[in-house]
Every structure is written in C-alpha cells, then in structure tokens.
C-alpha cells in the first residue's frame, strides 16, 4: 500500500517533470509546424526539398548555437553577420590571391573570428559598455572592413578543394555540413549541460552578482562565450563560401537578428540565465522551414520576414502557455 502510493507519487512527479522539461514545448511546436507544412504543400516533405533544407540550415544554425551560449551568459552579439562575411573573405583572399594553403587560410579565418569575439568581449566586460552598443559598433566596423577589402566584388573560392568538400560536400547525397552542425550542437550541448563552464555560463547570465559572490570569473565566462561565437561564426561563413564557391562582402546581412530570433524561438530568455541548445536547433528549423514553405507555395518572398516576426511572438507565447503554468 505504502509502496504503491509512493510509486504513484513518483510517477506523477516524473510526468510533471517531463511536462516541465524545458525543451518539450518547442519540440512539439516544431513537429506540429512540419506536419502542417507537409499537409499544406506536397513538395515540402520530399527528398529534394529536405536536402535543400539540410544544406542551408547549418550556416545559421552553427551561429545560433554560439549565440545561445552567449545569450545565456547574459550578453549578445550583433556583429555576427559582419564576422560571417569578413573572416571567410580573408580566407578566400589568402587562398586565391596570396596562394596560401586553403586549410591554413581556414585556420586564419577561424582565428580571426575568435579574435573578433575577444575584442567584443573585452570591450563589453572591461570597459563596461552594454554588448548591444559594443557589437552594434563592431557590426558596422567589420562590415566596412569587408566592403573595403572586396571593393564590392566577390572573391572566388574553388568548391572542389578537399577542405570545401570536407565541410560542405556530400556523403551519398547527404550534406556534410549538416553533420558538422549536429556535431557542434552536440559539443555545445555537452559543454552547457555537463561541464563546470556550462554551469558558470548559466549562473553568470542568471544573476551576475551572485556568481561574482561565489567566486566565479564572470568576465572570463562572457569573453570566452564571445570568442566561441566568433569562431563558430567564421566557420559557418566559410561553409557558405564552400557551398557557393565565392565569398561575398554582403554575406550574412540580417543574420544577427535571425540568429537571435532562432535562439528566442527556441526558448532562450534574452535576459540570460536560461536556454537550451535543442531549443535553438528547433528555432533554426522553424525559421528555415517557414522560409522554405513560402518559396514552395509561390508566395512573394517578402512575406518571409513578416512570418518570422509573427512566429517569434507566437513561439514565445506558446512557451509561456505550456511552461508558465504553476
């Protein structure tokens, strides 16, 4: 009798935990959208269309998972779109104009991204400027730099190079970049959920004063997250270059808001301290599948931004409705 009651209590408790589990609402929303889209348009769930989706999602997705970590730590970065253009442009120039080995050029590109993150992080934490202002400034500065570097012309990059195939090729008709995306997402998930640094990231964003009081190096946590995001953004930009065969100075425009949008749709609070990688992956899927269904349905592509805007609000409302009830 006693054990039965206890068992029932445990079951009720675990059910409650499943419902409160932070990612469940966004997974339900994403699944529902996919079902609706496939019913609305027969071309949505075809092999060809899914291939296009899986090939293009990683570029935003890799940026968005880095953005998620940074937002959880209590900061955000508007300069990712410019980093996404500048760092790979440097790689393309080094490879095509200066004749560097493409792998070395890619390495330089990622280091450049990390450096950009370091600059953002140091200015934000050490001078004490809000990251909104810091990265608004660097967003414009780095965009100016890449326009200057390119004089407005694209820089070619061979899609047939081994490094391009390694990051953006195919494995029996499956886009390799999606595997990289999942791999990075997995690594970031493990870091966030299972490491000390992940715990520090959550508590730094959740209550900075408490974290300082408990001896956590909050500036280091934030700067590191800025740097990780910078490096991931540079790599994501390179993946686009590998896919397109050219580096463009206007690449990544508007990406900062899409990345923040994917993060917010996925349930991460802009105020910091909470959020998940799985949510952000779902958020990225939602943004791309909305864009995709608009194109497939032949609706004017201008609707895309309108829909993403609406979905940001609807998704956040849904989170509150599903999770907020106590």
């Amino acid at each position: 009798m006693g054990t039965r009651a206890r068992k029932e209590k445990a079951r009720a408790h675990s059910l409650k935990q499943v419902l409160r589990y932070k990612d469940i609402s966004i997974v339900i929303i994403t699944a529902a959208l996919f079902i609706i889209f496939s019913l609305v348009n027969k071309s949505f769930l075809t092999r060809e269309n899914l291939y296009i989706l899986l090939k293009t999602i990683p570029e935003l997705g890799i940026v968005a998972i880095g953005m998620t970590m940074l937002i959880i730590s209590g900061e955000f970065d508007l300069s990712v779109g410019s980093t996404f253009a500048l760092a790979p442009f440097i790689m393309a120039i080094l490879t095509e104009k200066a004749g560097w080995h493409p792998v070395v050029a890619l390495f330089v590109c990622v280091v450049a991204g990390v450096f950009i993150g370091l600059v953002n992080g140091v200015i934000t934490t050490k001078i004490g400027i809000p990251s909104f202002i810091t990265t608004l400034g660097t967003m414009m500065a780095w965009r100016g730099a890449v326009l200057l570097l390119s004089s407005g012309f694209p820089e070619a990059f061979s899609r047939d190079l081994p490094v391009a195939r390694f990051f953006a090729g195919k494995i029996s008709n499956f886009p390799v970049q999606f595997i990289w995306f999942i791999l990075f997402a997995l690594i970031m998930w493990v870091i966030l959920e299972n490491t000390r640094f992940g715990n520090w990231t959550y508590v730094t964003g959740g209550n900075r004063n408490a974290a300082v009081a408990m001896g956590i190096p909050v500036d280091m946590v934030k700067i590191t997250n800025f740097m990780v995001l910078g490096g991931l953004t540079a790599l994501a930009g390179s993946i686009q270059v590998f896919r397109m065969g050219s580096a463009y100075s206007i690449a990544g425009q508007g990406m900062e808001l899409q990345a923040i949008g994917a993060t917010v749709i996925g349930g991460t609070m802009l105020s910091g301290g909470s959020g998940t990688i799985i949510g952000t992956i779902m958020g990225t899927f939602i943004i791309f599948s909305v864009e995709n269904i608009i194109v497939l349905s032949g609706a004017p592509a201008f609707w895309f931004r309108t829909f993403v805007g609406v979905i940001v609000i609807v998704a956040v409302t849904a989170h509150i409705l599903i999770q907020g009830r106590k």
Binding site: N194, N199, V203, G205, M214, G272, G273
Partner: protein
C-alpha cells in the same frame, strides 16, 4: 568575561567612505555556537561590518582573528576559507537554474577536470536539504525561481552548511518572509547552534532577534555602544538603546 577563545573576533575595526566614518574602532566577538544580534538604527554601520567580515570591503584599521589567530579577509574567497558564509538579503541565488546547481555554484563537484558529477551533486543536495530545513522542497532539480522566499533562504543556508561554514552572517534574513517561514528560518538557525555553528544576525525586527540571539551588540553611528547578554537586558531596554544610541540599563 573569561571564557574560551572566541571563534571569531574583530578588534578596533574602522572604516571610512570619504568623509563618512562608517565604523569607529569597533570590537566584536563570537563564541562557538553563539548567536549574536547585531542591532542598531539605519546608518549604524551594521551592514558595513558584515561586508568587512564577508570580504566585500577591506577595513581601514583593525584586526580580525579566527580561533585567536590573526587572519586577513581581502575577498569573498578569504572569508569562505575561514568558514564565514554570508546569507545575503538578495540571497545570492540564481532563479533560472536548479537547486543543486545553485548549491554547488562556484564549488561544483567534478568527475574529471571539467565535467560535472551531476548525480553526486543531486544526491548531496538532497541530503543537505533533508538535514536542514527542506520546507517542502520536492527535488533538487526544482528551479530556485519556483521556490518561496523561505525555501530560497533554506537553500542559501544549506549551501553554507554544506561548505562547512562555522559562522553565518545573516543580513535581514527574515525580511521578505512570511511569519511561518521566518519562524522556520529562526528555528533552523537555533538548531545550528547545537552543532557549534555561530551566527551574526542583523535585523530591524527586534522581536525576531530578541527571540533567538544569545548576546546583543549595539551600534550607533559607527560606534559600539554596548554588548549585553540576553539575561542582562529586556527587549524594551534594547529598543531604547537603539533609539537613543546610549547604553543605559536602568
């Protein structure tokens, strides 16, 4: 009074902020398992004294002793290292993460150099909560933001106990709590006394502090005006001293 060496003692502490002398030559001692009521009107210097002990401000002058030996407290870590734990007004907790992540924040239990031992953290969190005031806390996975004020206080104190605090600095611990929760927190602080854990209790609520403290140290405008054991003083006399800033037992 000749007793054993105080567990913690401060001698001749002074602290100024610009022209304002927040503390002038203040002495205070705490014996093992003793609850000190640190009382005084606004601006008396209570919070400054707490902040010096918890390593937030350095003192301009004076010495701090732990078990009779001079110690230096220059940071929160230093105060933690000698067993001092501050239970802040804002509780120094993170609402958006779970109880066990809060308890081990900054002192995470690790499996290897970077990976959390989450299972052990959960088990230990549950144990320390059960041993202290768990007041209705179901699971160490609950978010701190979902807890009541008293439960949050319990988590903060549980964290201090787990890390072997010997002196709790309680700055207005019952401020935002319901009557029932205040009583639970106070009973818990009293229970800790039997385990040899001392407390310095700062509050405006004279009824609370008179109920649980063993001894009172009264500050007024940064100066210590009196030090009385509970049996030497009534609550009315204590109140009068706080208001007048003069130690007179009539």
């Amino acid at each position: 009074m000749s007793r054993e060496t105080p567990a913690y003692e401060i001698r001749g502490i002074s602290k100024s902020f610009g022209h304002v002398e927040a503390l002038k030559d203040v002495d205070l001692s705490v014996y093992k398992g003793e609850i000190i009521g640190l009382v005084g009107d606004n601006g008396a210097g209570k919070s400054t004294l707490i902040k010096i002990l918890s390593g937030i401000y350095p003192a301009d002058k004076g010495t701090i002793l732990c078990d009779g030996e001079i110690v230096r407290i220059n940071s929160y870590r230093d105060s933690q290292a000698i067993g001092v734990a501050t239970i802040y007004q804002d509780r120094a907790l993170v609402d958006s993460v779970s109880i066990y992540r809060n308890i081990f924040m900054g002192n995470e239990l690790l499996k290897s150099s970077h990976f959390l031992d989450k299972r052990k953290m959960r088990v230990e969190a549950r144990r320390v909560l059960n041993e202290s005031i768990s007041i209705g806390i179901e699971s160490p996975d609950q978010l701190v933001g979902d807890l009541s004020g008293g439960q949050k206080q319990a988590v903060a104190i549980a964290r201090a106990i787990y890390f072997r605090a010997r002196l709790l600095l309680l700055d207005e611990p019952t401020n935002a709590l319901s009557v029932r929760e205040s009583q639970q927190v106070m009973r818990f602080v009293q229970d800790l006394r039997s385990e040899g854990i001392s407390s310095i209790f700062v509050t405006h609520n004279l009824l609370h502090v008179y109920t649980i403290a063993d001894r009172f140290t009264i500050l007024s405008h940064g100066v210590k005006v009196g030090d009385f054991r509970k049996e030497e003083i009534t609550m009315e006399q204590l109140e009068k001293m706080i208001v007048t800033g003069r130690a007179e037992v009539s």
